[in-house]
């Protein structure tokens, strides 16, 4: 790949590392990887230069890249606060838009913001705030109240208004009088039970590119890349969507789920309609986005190890790991002393394994929909809430904790449907894949400019570990 036109450089400014992937566009495959420290809090160029030097060593000289695209989750990620009206309706729609845009949701509020709420928002100091409320032509009083409260406050971050369009002009006026940045986007819930989060997602991405990249100091290295396109979780989601849908002439894998256990959170993405697979099932609740991301802020292998154990129960973790609950407790305190710790003893490795299984099982259960039987006068009726993912045929594990796990397929299998819990609509018998070389984010970035090559990169980057049904004999 000596010719300039064949090479692309994909950069991830992460919270710990600056990661690079060099891709051969013609071959649709990764050629080399490089890594440096994350130095966004000091000078982003230092980490990037170190990573490039590492890549240079692996490649024996750097080519001239045709594309140099980046994503970022550095400096705390894209920290967002959402505000809506009814918790389960526009406030939930706003949350979904923010998560779908790859944000790190640090706070969600609903109904009228109180003094305490406004103080909490200011305290959280988000990078962006998403303000929603009311269907088009519906309630405008609450979003206006909230807009005024936010405009009057000392909050300085850009606000995206994506609520009742009848209130949009007044909200603009309120913010312009206060001299504060406001971006108006389409309503996240234009009609009752109608979700339209794409315009808000696009607005969030725009703000990220136009302002946040600068605010986080990433543009100090602007000469070394072409563009920071999106937050890293959005790149992973874009890669996942490409992998599911394919491109013209090359089909994708179809509906799929991506699992990512991190140190602080566990992310689940599903690219699937989630429509009922059973006959005569009644759907309830807010419609689901085709590409949906949920982030479990209480499930992380290091920063939130204790909450994993508390949620699952220390006895169950101990039993699954084959150790005493005292051993689990000791491992937890060692993690709390040093969140970078890696298990060396077999017992600690087994506890980590049990925690990873529990985190994925809980995260997948929260992400997937549920089905329950409502007993009506006309007989029993199945009522579905959320997405039915039982028929999903591909589940992909990504991120360090899964990829470097001793038995990644076993951990991922914990996320699958459980016959003893038939109310949870998790995938039943998918093929399990590992994103071994962490290519999903790279494919997501590349999808913006070279979708066919990006699809090949993503396809070549995942390795099948066999289907769940093939392992059914061993449980």
């Amino acid at each position: 790949m000596s010719r300039r036109s064949d090479a692309a450089l994909l950069i991830d400014f992460g919270s710990t590392y600056t990661k690079l992937r060099a891709v051969d566009l013609a071959a649709g495959a990764v050629v080399a990887a490089g890594q440096g420290p994350s130095t966004v809090t000091t000078d982003v160029t230092i980490g990037l230069e170190a990573a490039l030097a590492d890549l240079d060593r692996h490649m024996g000289g750097l080519p001239e890249f045709r594309y140099r695209l980046a994503s970022s989750s550095a400096a705390g990620g894209l920290r967002m606060v959402t505000v809506g009206l009814v918790t389960e309706l526009t406030a939930e729609a706003a949350r979904r838009a923010a998560l779908g845009a790859g944000a790190r949701l640090v706070g969600s509020f609903s109904y009228r913001l109180t003094d305490g709420d406004v103080a909490a928002v200011v305290d959280l100091s988000p990078d962006v705030l998403l303000l929603s409320g009311g269907t088009d032509g519906g309630n405008s009083e609450v979003i206006l109240h909230n807009a005024r409260r936010l405009a009057e406050s000392s909050l300085a971050c850009p606000v995206i208004a994506a609520g009742n369009r009848n209130a949009a002009d007044q909200i603009s006026a309120v913010f312009s009088r206060a001299g504060k940045p406001l971006i108006t986007a389409g309503n996240v819930m234009p009609a009752f039970q109608e979700l339209d989060i794409e315009p808000a997602r696009e607005a969030i991405r725009r703000v990220f590119i136009d302002r946040i990249v600068h605010a986080k100091g990433i543009d100090r290295a602007a000469k070394m890349f072409d563009a920071v396109l999106m937050p890293t979780p959005a790149a992973v989601m874009t890669g996942a969507q490409l992998l599911a849908e394919g491109v013209a002439g090359r089909p994708g894998l179809g509906p799929l789920v991506v699992l990512d256990i991190g140190g602080a959170t566990t992310d689940v993405h599903s690219i699937a309609s989630g429509d009922p697979t059973g006959q005569g099932v009644v759907q309830h609740g807010l419609p689901e986005p085709f590409a949906k991301r949920t982030v479990e802020g209480d499930l992380g292998m290091r920063h939130n190890a204790r909450t994993i154990v508390d949620t699952e129960g220390v006895d169950r973790i101990a039993a699954a790991a084959g150790v005493s609950s005292g051993a689990v407790e000791r491992w937890l305190s060692r993690i709390e002393d040093d969140v970078k710790i890696l298990p060396r003893r077999a017992g600690d490795r087994a506890i980590d394994h049990a925690m990873a299984c529990a985190a994925l099982r809980i995260a997948m259960r929260r992400h997937a929909g549920t089905i329950r039987i409502a007993h009506t006068a006309a007989g029993p009726v199945a009522v579905q809430e959320g997405k039915d993912l039982t028929a999903v045929k591909a589940v992909i594990g990504t991120g360090g904790a899964l990829v470097h796990a001793a038995a990644p397929a076993e951990v991922m299998a914990a996320a699958l449907g459980d016959p003893s819990d038939a109310t949870s609509l998790r995938p039943i018998a998918p093929v399990l894949y590992i994103d071994e070389r962490y290519m999903l984010y790279a494919a997501g970035l590349l999808a913006e400019v070279e979708p066919a090559a990006a699809l090949a990169v993503a396809m070549n980057g995942i390795r099948s570990t066999g289907g769940a049904h093939e392992r059914s004999g061993t449980g």
């Binding site: 819930m189 009506t376 006068a377 009726v381």
Partner: protein, 139 residues
């Protein structure tokens, strides 16, 4: 706003009513069958609904509708018009008595089985007109 409350799947009458209301020029938000009372309230908040039409066809209406008005008052929607209609109770009971019970529960109007949609539209128009003049419902 229209919807069938409780564990009731009988959607047809409610759908006919929704269509009639739309034809009469109202903007209708149809919640459909098996709708919990709380969902009526949540939807009314977001959509700023002016009136709620609750259907119940399976005889459990009295149980399902208990406290319905209170939920709206709790949500700050004291003024919303609430109608109820259908086979509200089990067995053959005296309609005026049933009606009295539902009005006492805070419904603005209750309609017996076999009510024509025109009647509902007419009453709704009259009640909105009365509100414009400052009364709660038209007599």
């Amino acid at each position: 706003m229209t919807g069938v409350i409780g564990a009731d799947t009988h959607i047809v009458g409610n759908r006919i009513l929704s269509m009639a209301l739309e034809e009469a020029g109202f903007e209708v938000i149809a919640l459909g069958a098996i709708t919990p009372a709380e969902d009526f309230v949540k939807a009314a908040i977001e959509t700023d609904a002016d009136a709620v039409m609750v259907s119940s066809l399976y005889g459990q209406g009295e149980l399902d509708c208990r406290g319905f008005r209170d939920l709206f008052i709790e949500a700050g929607l004291d003024d919303i018009l609430i109608y109820v209609g259908g086979n509200l109770v089990v067995g053959k009971q005296d309609w005026p008595d049933v009606e009295r019970r539902f009005l006492a529960m805070g419904f603005d109007r209750a309609f017996p089985p076999n009510t024509r949609t025109d009647d509902v539209v007419e009453k709704l128009n009259a009640d909105f007109a009365a509100r414009a003049e400052g009364q709660r419902i038209a007599e």
